[in-house]
Every structure is written in structure tokens, then in C-alpha cells.
Assembly symmetry: C2
Homo-oligomer: 666 residues x 2
């Protein structure tokens, strides 16, 4: 039979197929046509069966599948080294989120992805699984660089740089998927950020998208012990059962991290055919813990290796990550035979491809798979000598002594992306220059911000972000206010869940430099009192309040956002000295509070009487919080209904956030 | 004042002094004369005060102290990748020790050190603390390459490639120290390998050497949990109190590993001013555990970072090792603020220098210290972008994103060892070619050996090496043998410690391919019997026996060596099939055994009567074991005395190892 014609033959290298049998060819060759691997074999076999105009001599080099980075946030490479060695809350709320809010836009995402792709192509990664905002720009930039990528559009309950609400994110995501579905390089995916940053509605909607379009669903699972504790406290179960309950295990799930999962959860994930992305560097650096990788593999889970974002790692070096995975599995299990080099490299290639549900296309050098491969030089001093007695020694050499800088050529889909360590699809100097400019702007922004109340609050610790949306209405009532409220709450559609009496002593701190998300800080001492006026308990809290009003609905119903709360275990004096407000103001009141349910929806009813500044009237406040923009609208409508139950109300007015602005009129 | 003349000025770089205050100069400069740092400061300060013919422009680069590798075994770089992912006993007894025994000689040590130095110079290490055999050749090769090194000559109780006995090692060590003391680059040191591979005499002798010459003493301390358990069982205390008891804390101690030390031990080491070499990669890869680095630092210990030997790590990359130290400290403590990048880099430089007792000479860029420094390019993609808001961000960039391949120039003692990534003192091609040749020989040796009885025995597990030296004498006694022995043991200089009766069923396995240290394998079933002949207990053991006789002392006293023992929990049939001996031979006997003390020395007295092959006479055997060559000689002398106590003995003859060769005459 005459030899078949192919586009290209890579010849004379040591070929690591990384197939299930770990077949090696030495010297071997790979025949490539139309972006696919036609055949892999010994040099003799391939040269007898195929001919090509382009025969690449790989003498002395290793030909192997490109590495699969199973979890990253490519654009965050622009935030590499922004802030390190910090507590997670300080890092996230103090640096990442404010910077993302301010800087993340399509240009940022495009540049960050180009930077990430350049670094990954250099270090031998040919495919990455991503999760970020404006994911359509990640997809476009990755495709432009020639890389293969699974790009997950992030959905979370907080407002994001690319959407005002999660409903907006879901809409964007659907458009994005429809646009990219079927692309040769890009696999679109939906990425609810994590169970704890989602509502059940978000999770259901994401599963629906994933099942409609038959695309992967990528999410963070049980990254920290805190996440598990919180999930048990709030939902009575661990994280995997919780996401299973919301259908995530019915999708092609990619579960990033899985540091804190138990045997049952391992089995649940395995039965569902889920993939796990193991991120050893990130989990160590953020002190999240050490994932039970060995048990995962014993359970038959498909485990891939991920670098996570460079903002936390701080690089995208899969060679290093694979080495660390192998080292850590041994150190963690106490068994030096755990995760040997060959198996670790399989995680970074074939199994990683399966973990991100692309195992039928990539991850090994086999006929019919895509020509995604790298060619590696093991001739440097740090790789000397080389023992050949044990053919498997080559895996130890790559994993334990190899460096990502040993990669010489990188190919994706049959196209060279790097030859002789020169990037062919990206302009490095341009990327470096643009990234440097951006870093300069971010530096200036953060320098200005580092003395902000939010930054200072974060340093104290325990800060939590409240629900994104608060709807409320206020009105004045006359001397019969209490009876008026009681009559209203007797309405058959109202159920009183809880009733309490408080004395609230609020001190508001005002600042010269006002930030949109941190206009004023409130120190509140909440005294819980009995009906006879005896103090039963007290608690102190700090609340950082942003825009007092973001939007008004009809009927003076207000919507506000962006509040951060923290427990206050020190004295008011301490906080005054620590935050150094330019002025303060005091508001003291008695509050009678009912937590009610009206038409299956929860509201708080507050009846307030101000002592300082003293006011003759009562104030009625009806409010509710939610993560959902639609839900905020619905609740605003219900509030307008509710207020009619209270009969005559003097005025329904716009009194934002406490009564701190009232004294002007008092 | 006119500017002073210096040899060289490194100008316009970002200078990290790594001094105690972590002072940075940006742009900064370093003035160097006669191998020493004359001054460090801003470019303006240095250019006003100094002039030089050679001004090196370091624009856009970082100038920092060279990295200090606080623990390695440089020549073992030649064994990199020889065998990985194995149990420690299999790795050590099955690969490292046989290969070292066969191949380690001055040429091996010289080549391995050159290879190691090349890799270290490339990756930014300017000084390393070593421990190996033929250490004088390590010292010479390191000095030839221009590197600074602390070279510890290894002493252990086993025979070593460079000495027949530990007495020989100690003699070599003294000569070596006297030759190198006062060298500009080399600090000689004495290195008892570890407490568990030393005898008290070895430890005392090493401390004496260290104190006589005021040199550091380097040893492995509490590397594995097993070591601690064994030490407690054998000596009733943990490892640090044990070495303290033998004076090691009175020397300038460098304690490598310290993975399993408790608070008391931390404090003991700290009060003694000891240095600790932390080897995170090696400890993970060999599954030894995770050292309590954070607690060490809180206790005020000087901790350095080491790569350990490349046979276990598998590289000498201090950048990677420093990153892992920082990551692991966080992951292990559960605190992401543990060991921040700046502190981690201090361990790799200034504190590492203090840990190896060279802190007054190197480790930081300060006036009067040696000009040991590296110049690093942080302009690559994997280091982009760079944030400058926080001046300390530079440490995170180097430690978390940097690669050892970012090092551009390396200088030791004012001399360039690498410029623009080209080694100046070593011929890389030559080293690679020679190492490749050697690897080929080692591969052949191991291939031949991989089916050897010792290799197979190691796979079974539980193998221990017996004391190096066994002295024994045998003689035949007539029918009154028992009374003859009893009379002898009644001698006032003899104390009987224990008396037992055995039936011993020995099966000897013989092999076609005989190795010097594995001539035959014995499967022994030892039945312990009562005086009335009832079997009370039984145990089975495998013993691999080397040269039947290595040397004869006067009076037919024999010395033999190299025995490996393992418990045998499977059947004789299993071992026969597993080891596939070419022939076997059976020796059954009754043994009456007395453990006695004669002139304060322990001996075993065996009175044997052979059942198979049946022999009419009794055999008397007197034997003792020891780690010490001198002690073997002394015991041989005592045996000659002892034998006279037994009165008339038919013949005193050479019957090695059991009675397996007797049947020829029977």
C-alpha cells in the first residue's frame, strides 16, 4: 500500500502517548492531518505508512500531549502579585473584589486572557478550563491565541462586573453559549461560582442551561472547611449533597477544589461521572487544606490538575503544579508510593481532559484525537543524567526534574503556537507593556483606597457582605401607632414569626473621602429588652453603608445595596480612634420589631420611637432583603400592598438608613 | 572627598539587601572590591562615593544575595531519577546503597559535584552545605567551580564507599579538615550521618573534631517518625535529647530535616544556637512529613532551606524550594499569613547563612560581606504584571511567580560564575556527556542486579542491615560437651545473661549469579523449646549472607560482613518460588544458647548438635557482632582468651555460617 499523505510528521522523538496503557515509542513519530492525530507509532511504522512535506525532526526530544489546566481564571493573571500572604477575607473583599469592580471590563478580560495564554503556551499547556466574567471575551482571546479552552461564564448572587444581578448573568450566559457552541477550540460552559455564592434558583437555572445545551457546568466545591461548616449550619448537609439536591450532579460537572469532601461525597461525585480539578498550590497558599486526591483516584473519580487563578497561585505553571500534586499526595498520605510520577502526569493530561469532559478529544496522543501536543527538551543540566533502565523513568524525569521552560514547541489543533520558544500567535512585548500600564492604574487606585473605611473594616475581620438588594418603605404614625400596627398584623394574610423589643444606640461615622460603597459606618449597640423594659441581652455591630439610595420604586419604596457587616467586640472609643471619622452623629431609639410572613414572603416590621434626636412621632418601617433583582421588584410590590394594611399613615417618605439625616429637620 | 576606587559597581538595579531591616534600593547599586561588598545604596549615593572601571548596568533587573542551599548531597545529583516513587527501604537498600557501593569513588564525586554546581549556579544558588563521601573531592570540585560550600565529611557506622570502618572515616575527616581549614570558599565540616546510623563513640568523636577545629557539625535529625519511635524504644528518649546527651549541641550544629521534633526539642536546639535545614520537597516526596517551620521561627531558631540530594528531590532548585516552603507553611498551619514571601526569601538567604553558621560572611548585601549575589530578570510573561504600591510585593513576585531560569548572572566572592545565562567556570557539554556515560554503566549494573536476591528480599519489606562486623570461632566437642560448657561458664569472669534451647530448621538457597554481598539466603525456622523438649514458640526469618569469610584473625577466629535480615511471615514454599534458587540445602540442628558477658563484653555461646546432616559430635560456637572495626579486633582477642576456658576442644576450625558446607565431609 502506498504511504498516505498527511500534513505533518513529528519524527524521531521519544513519544509518550499517555494513553490508558501508557505506551511509549522510542524513537517514535506522530502523523497529523487537518488538526488531528492520524497515527502514532515507531518511526519505522509511521515512515512506512505516511508521507508529509513537513517532517519535523524531534531527535533527543520528548513528544507528549499538551498539559490540561483543569481550573483557572485566566484574566486574573493581570492581578498576579496584587496582594499576597493575607487572610482570605482581607484578600478577597479588600483587594480582589474592589479592583475587579473597578477595572474588570472587556478590555481587561481580553488582555488578561492573552497574558495567561502566552504564559500557558510557553509552559506547555494547550487547553485550560476557565471561569470568569465577560467570558465571551475570554473565549475570543483564547481562540485568537490558538489555544483550546473550556470557558465557563460565572454566575453568582452578588452583582458582578458584567451584570447588575444574577438574572442578567444568566441572560448573558445563554447568549454566550449560543454564540460559541460548536466552535473548534472553545467549549462554552456555565459556571455558578459556588454553592455558597448561589441561591437555589441560580443553581437550578445553571443546571437547566447545562442540560439544554449539553455543556459542562463548572463550580467551586468545598474549597474551605468554613464553607462546609456554613453549609451544614445553614442547610443541614455537606456541600456535595447540597449541590446534588439542586441537580448539579445531573450535569457534566467540573468540581474545582473538593478539599473538604468525605467518602460519601467522593462516591456521589464518582457515580455522577463528575470531574474534579485539584489545585494544590492554591489550596496550600490560601491555607484551604489538602485535597484527598489519593482517595479520589481510588474511588475512580476523574481528577485533573489546575493552577487556579494567578492572583492566588501566582502562576499558571502546570509542570510545577503536577510536581506539587505528586509530592503532596505522598506527604499528605504518608506513603512515598502515592501518586507516582506517571499517574501524576496522567492527571495533567488524559485524566484532566476527562475531568473537564473533553477526554474524547484531547489528553493523549492517539489516532482521532486533536493534535494538541508539546515537544520538550530534557537535555539541560537540571535534567542530567537520564536513566533508561526503567522505561517509566521518563515520567519521573518530566514530573520531578522538569521545568516548564524545557518546553520547546507547542501545538494546538495541528497549529504551532510556539516554535523554538518563540510565541507565534501573541505579541509578548505588547502584552507586557499593556499589563504594566494597567498595573500602574490599579496601584494608584489601591493606594488611594488603602485608607478607606472598608479596607480598615476588613482588617478587623469577620466582615460579611449582606444581601445585594434591600427594599424598604418608611412612614410616620401618630400616638396610637402600636395598636395601629397590631391591628394590621392581625390580618389573615400576615403571620407573625417573632416579636422583639430593642433599644438601639447608633453612632454614625462620616468620612471626608467618600467611596460609593462606603459612605458611612454605623456602630450599633442593640439592647434586647423585656416587655417590662429590662435589658436581657446586648450585641454590638459595625455596618458599612454605601449609596443611601440606589433606586426608588413607586410609593416611595427604596432600594439600596452594598452593605458590609462585622461584629464589634471592641469599644466605641476604639473604633472612633481606629477609623478616624471626620464627624460622627448619634441616633438612639426604641424599636419594636416583628418578623412576619406575608403571602409566603418574609418581611421585617419596625416601629421606632426616636429618643435622640427626640421626635414626637412613631416611624413605621417595612423592609426585606434579597439576592435577586426580580425578587426585589416583587417584594417592592408586596410592600406597597402591605402598607395599605396599616391604615392611616401620616406620610410615606424617603428616610434612608436609620434616621441619621433627620436631625436637620428636628 | 574624591570617590573611592572599587573593582566593580553593579548599578541601576532594584537592590534587595535582605538585611535585618529588609532595606530596598530602587534604583540601587552595589560596590565590590576584592571579593567583598564595600557598600550598598541608592545609585546616587554609590556613584558619588565610588568609581570603578567595570560598571554593570542592571536596569530593569533585581540584584539580591545568592541563595543558600542549607542541605544537599551534591554528588548524588548523578543519581537523579535513578529510582523514584518507592518505599524508603527499597529506595535506599535496593538502589542507592548498592549503586553507591559500586560506583562512588573520587571521579564520581568530582563529576557529581560539577553537575550539581552547574545546576546551582544556573538557578541562583551561590553557597551550599553538603554531606557526602570523599568530601575532599566535593570541596575541590566546588572550589574549582567558584562556588562557596560548607562540605561535611560523612561518618557512619556502616562501611562507606570511602572507608572500611568508621575509624577510617574519622581519620579521613581529620586529614580533610586540616587541609581545607581557612580556605576562602570552602568551610570543612564533620557530618555524622544521623544518630541512628552512629554509635555513641562516633558522635563523641565527631563533636571532638568539631570543637577542636571550630567547624560546623552537620547531621540528619528526626527526619522520619520511625526514627523517633526507634530512638525512644532503644534509648528511652527522643532524638534531640539523645544527640544533646552526646554533646552535639555543644558544636556548631546544622540539623537537617527536624520534621518530627516537639516543643522541648525546638527550645533545646534554639538555646544551643543550632541551625535547621528545612527540606520541604524531599520531606514530601519521601513522605517523611511536614516540619513545624512556623514554630521553629517563633522559637527563634535559624532555619535555612535545603533541596536535599537530587536523588530524592529531584533537583537543586532553591527558588522552587523556597516557594514550597512558603506554601507548605501556610497549608500545614492553616493560616495563609504564615511564612510570607519576604520571610521565606530570608530563609533562603540571610537566615540560611546563619543556619549553616556562615551568617557573618554571606546571606545579605551589606558592607563587609562577601560579594555572593545574583541578578534576576523579572520581565518575563510569567512575572507580568508588577505592582509597586507595596514595596514588599517584590518578594512575593520572586518567591511566588519567579523561576530559577529568571537568574541571568551569578557571582561568588566577587567572581562571575554565570553571565547572561552562560556558565563561565564549568563546561556543560562535557559534564552532560560524562554523566550520560556513567548513567549508562549504572543502568547496566542495576539491570543485571534487579533480579538479585537482595532486590527481591527488599521488595518483601522489613529488611534490616546487621552490624557490620561479626567475629566467631567454632570447635568440635565430644559427648561431654554440655558439662564442658557449663564448667567454662562457671568461670568468675563470665556472667550468663540468658540461656535458651532451640531447634533450628535452616534451608539455604543458592543462586547461579552470585553477588559479593548476597551469596546465599537462609530461611530459618527457630523453634524455642523447653528443657523437656516442648515447643514453646517459633519464629521464621530470612537472612541474606554475603562473603562467607572476609578475614581470619589468629586462632581461626573469622570475621564476616554484610548480612541483611527480614522477618519471614510466609511459607518456605512461597520463598522458594519467589527467589527461585538454583539449589537448596537443608541443615537442622538443636542449639543450646547462652548469652554471656565476659570482661564486660557480650558474646553468644552456641552448643549445636546437627540432625541433618547428622553428625556424631557437638559444635561449640563463640560469636559477637559490632559496628566498629577496632571493636571487632578487640573481640577477636577476647574470643581467643575465652576459648581456652572450654578446656579440651577437638579442633578449632573454619566452619563458616551455619553448617551448610559440612555435608561434603559427612
Amino acid at each position: 500500500m502506498p504511504p498516505q499523505h498527511v500534513d505533518r510528521i513529528l519524527a524521531n522523538g521519544l513519544v509518550l502517548t499517555m494513553n490508558c496503557a501508557f505506551v511509549l515509542y522510542s524513537p517514535g513519530a506522530v502523523a497529523i492531518r487537518a488538526g488531528e492525530i492520524v497515527d502514532v507509532g515507531s518511526v519505522t511504522e509511521i515512515s512506512e505508512s505516511y508521507q508529509a512535506d513537513d517532517v519535523v525532526d524531534c531527535q533527543g526530544l520528548v513528544i507528549m500531549p499538551g498539559l490540561v489546566n483543569a481550573h483557572t481564571h485566566a484574566p486574573m493573571t493581570l492581578l498576579r502579585g496584587l496582594a499576597d500572604d493575607l487572610r482570605l477575607d482581607v484578600w478577597l473583599l479588600g483587594y480582589m473584589m474592589p479592583v475587579e469592580r473597578e477595572f474588570v471590563n472587556p478590555e481587561f478580560v481580553r488582555l488578561g486572557t492573552r497574558l495567561a495564554c502566552g504564559e500557558m503556551i510557553r509552559s506547555g499547556t494547550t487547553c485550560f478550563a476557565d471561569m470568569y466574567y465577560y467570558e465571551e471575551y475570554v473565549a475570543a482571546a483564547a481562540a485568537d491565541s490558538g489555544m483550546r479552552a473550556l470557558c465557563g461564564a460565572t454566575i453568582l448572587k452578588y452583582p458582578t462586573p458584567d451584570a447588575y444581578s444574577y438574572q442578567g448573568s444568566l441572560r448573558r450566559c445563554r447568549d454566550y453559549i449560543e454564540h460559541w457552541l460548536g466552535n473548534a477550540l472553545i467549549t462554552p460552559a456555565v459556571a455558578p461560582h459556588a454553592a455558597y455564592t448561589s441561591t437555589p434558583e441560580i443553581l437550578y437555572a445553571c443546571v437547566e442551561l447545562a442540560r439544554t445545551y449539553l455543556i459542562p457546568l463548572k463550580t467551586h466545591v468545598a474549597e474551605t472547611a468554613q464553607e462546609v461548616t456554613d453549609n451544614i449550619r445553614e442547610h443541614g448537609m455537606r456541600v456535595v449533597p447540597w449541590i446534588e439536591k439542586h441537580g448539579l450532579l445531573d450535569a457534566r460537572l467540573i468540581a474545582a477544589h473538593c478539599v473538604h469532601i468525605n467518602e460519601d461525597e467522593l462516591n456521589q461525585l464518582a457515580s455522577a461521572g463528575a470531574g474534579v480539578a485539584h489545585n494544590p498550590s492554591s489550596n496550600l497558599k490560601l491555607a484551604s487544606g489538602m485535597a484527598p486526591v489519593r482517595r479520589m483516584l481510588e474511588t475512580g473519580l476523574n481528577v485533573g490538575i489546575g493552577t487556579d487563578g494567578a492572583a492566588s497561585n501566582n502562576d499558571l505553571d502546570m509542570v510545577e503544579e503536577t510536581r506539587l500534586a505528586a509530592f503532596l499526595a505522598k506527604g499528605h498520605s504518608g506513603d512515598p508510593t502515592a501518586l507516582p510520577a506517571r499517574d501524576a502526569l496522567a492527571l495533567a493530561t488524559r485524566q484532566g481532559a476527562h475531568a473537564i469532559h473533553l477526554g474524547d478529544q484531547i489528553g493523549s496522543l492517539e489516532s482521532g484525537k486533536k493534535a494538541d501536543l508539546i515537544i520538550v527538551d530534557l537535555g539541560e543540566l537540571h535534567n542530567t543524567p537520564r536513566f533508561v533502565r526503567d522505561p517509566d523513568g521518563i515520567y519521573a524525569q518530566i514530573v520531578y526534574s522538569g521545568k516548564s521552560t524545557d518546553v520547546v514547541h507547542t501545538m494546538v489543533n495541528g497549529q504551532w503556537l510556539m516554535r523554538n520558544r518563540q510565541l507565534l500567535t501573541l505579541n509578548e512585548n505588547e502584552i507586557v507593556a499593556e499589563a504594566r500600564d494597567l498595573a500602574h492604574h490599579i496601584d494608584r487606585f489601591l493606594t488611594k483606597r488603602e485608607s478607606s473605611p472598608l479596607s480598615k473594616l476588613l482588617v478587623i475581620g469577620g466582615v460579611k457582605q449582606e444581601e445585594s438588594f434591600e427594599v424598604q418603605v418608611k412612614g410616620r404614625l401618630g400616638p396610637d401607632a402600636l395598636n395601629q400596627v397590631k391591628r394590621a398584623l392581625a390580618h389573615p394574610e400576615v403571620t407573625v414569626v417573632k416579636e422583639s423589643l430593642y433599644r438601639q444606640y447608633d453612632t454614625y461615622f462620616f468620612f471626608d473621602t467618600v467611596e460609593p460603597d462606603a459612605e458611612r459606618l454605623r456602630f450599633r449597640e442593640d439592647q434586647i429588652v423585656s416587655e417590662r423594659g429590662e435589658v436581657k441581652d446586648a450585641r454590638n455591630r459595625l455596618t458599612l453603608i454605601g449609596h443611601s439610595s440606589e433606586r426608588e420604586f413607586p410609593g416611595a419604596v427604596m432600594l439600596s445595596r452594598a452593605r458590609y457587616m462585622a461584629p464589634a467586640d471592641k469599644s466605641l472609643r476604639f473604633y472612633q480612634e481606629y477609623f478616624q471619622p471626620s464627624s460622627t452623629r448619634q441616633v438612639d431609639k426604641e424599636r419594636h420589631r416583628w418578623r412576619i410572613r406575608y403571602r409566603t414572603t418574609d418581611f421585617a416590621i419596625n416601629l421606632d420611637r426616636l429618643a435622640q434626636p427626640a421626635m414626637p412621632c412613631y416611624f413605621l418601617e417595612i423592609k426585606s432583603r434579597t439576592w435577586s433583582q426580580h425578587d426585589a421588584q416583587r417584594k417592592a410590590d408586596l410592600i406597597i400592598e402591605l402598607i395599605t394594611l396599616f391604615g392611616e399613615i401620616d406620610t410615606v417618605e424617603t428616610i434612608p438608613d436609620g434616621y441619621v439625616d433627620l436631625d436637620h429637620e428636628a
